[in-house]
Symmetry: C2
Subunit: 227 residues, 2 copies
């Protein structure tokens, strides 16, 4: 009897991503890929997060943008290193861009690698960078219909952050709608509401992040199963 | 003496776009491609615009989204027809998706074709749909650094709309920064500030739109030069 074993054929990007993931594991670094529209607050959140993790835990920031180095400049204070990747015409990061950056990053000294993807709700979800976790941000001004309209990325999310909740009163935003739509796509995904500006929600967010890193480094569960 | 004439080789998308543009011209329809991040207010603006143009001028709405038909449903009241194109995994519309839709649209009865692209600041700018004009929206909550960070789309814009200006007081947003960055990329592009919700800026916006249509149909200037 012949048994056909169907294996997922890894494409070039996936192969590089796999190699990145090995490097993160060796360095015991938790790599987190931050994905959202432009202006959802990725950089502000990372600024605050990097500061909150200090002095115990150290972070590297890797930022993708079509142009400018503004975000890396904003993240440099507090980070072990902040590197900007200019993607030119590409609306997402590729694994090989991360691999190239890794050559110059002090990974062995870091606890976290925060990868801020290009602002885009679609393509960043389709390109594995080797990250351990995908965090998807949705800000209140973007509206409560976005989970249903951009299902790919919300299905892939390990955590959904509802950002800019200080604007909740000023704008009509139905959180129940978000939760109902998420329940259909990604039933057990945790959701945290926060305001990087006012500080609300920062405690559970940092706790979640630290717990993920402990899990990864302790049992190596996440790190191992993803290889 | 041999003269080499270098022509831009049109790709498959451009050829279909060219054909779409011919159809718009024949029907004397002004086709406008609306591009922005998710949640910048494209659909709300179109809802109000379609209503404001009535009863003299009639519109068709063509809406791109990964999934759902919510936007087309919102635009149906007032429009001659509202058609949703579900793009699945694609983060932008292609010209052939517009061409397919045109087969069933009452183009001859319309004055405007409003194409709402998938929410994305990058790729929609790289794919010609045959439209006469590109309108790029940027909402106040997205932040005043976005022109410099997404130069491709702002360079291609025929008009920049700063939306949700009712939030200008609540959020820090430096309009001067936007204007300075635009001056470097696309010096003569007009900029209109508006709030679809409160109505501010709707008058100059509708005037601009009507003037563009008159220009196109009168001298056929825009329509002709783009062929």
């Amino acid at each position: 009897m012949k048994i056909n074993v169907v294996k997922r054929v890894l494409n070039a990007n996936d192969l590089v991503a796999q190699d990145n993931r090995k490097k993160f594991k060796q360095a015991q670094v938790l790599a987190v890929n931050f994905i959202s529209s432009p202006g959802s607050g990725k950089t502000t959140l990372l600024e605050k997060t990097i500061q909150k993790l200090l002095p115990d835990e150290k972070s590297i920031a890797l930022v993708g943008d079509l142009q400018t180095t503004r975000d890396a400049e904003r993240l440099a204070p507090g980070a072990l290193q902040a590197t900007q990747i200019n993607t030119g015409m590409s609306c997402h990061l590729y694994a090989n861009q991360v691999a190239d950056a890794l050559k110059t990053l002090p990974l062995a000294k870091a606890d976290y690698l925060f990868i801020e993807n290009v602002g885009n709700m679609v393509c960043p979800g389709e390109f594995d960078l080797g990250e351990n976790l995908k965090v998807v941000l949705l800000s209140i001004p973007e509206g409560d219909d976005k989970v249903a309209k951009y299902p790919t990325i919300f299905r892939a999310a390990d955590l959904v952050l509802i950002t800019k909740i200080d604007l909740m009163g000023a704008l009509s935003f139905d959180l129940k709608r978000i939760q109902d739509d998420l329940a259909k796509l990604n039933a057990n995904v945790p959701l945290i509401q926060l305001s990087s500006l006012k500080g609300d929600g920062m405690v559970p967010w940092i706790q979640w992040l630290k717990a993920q890193r402990r899990k990864g480094i302790g049992a190596q569960a996440k790190f191992v199963t993803e290889e």
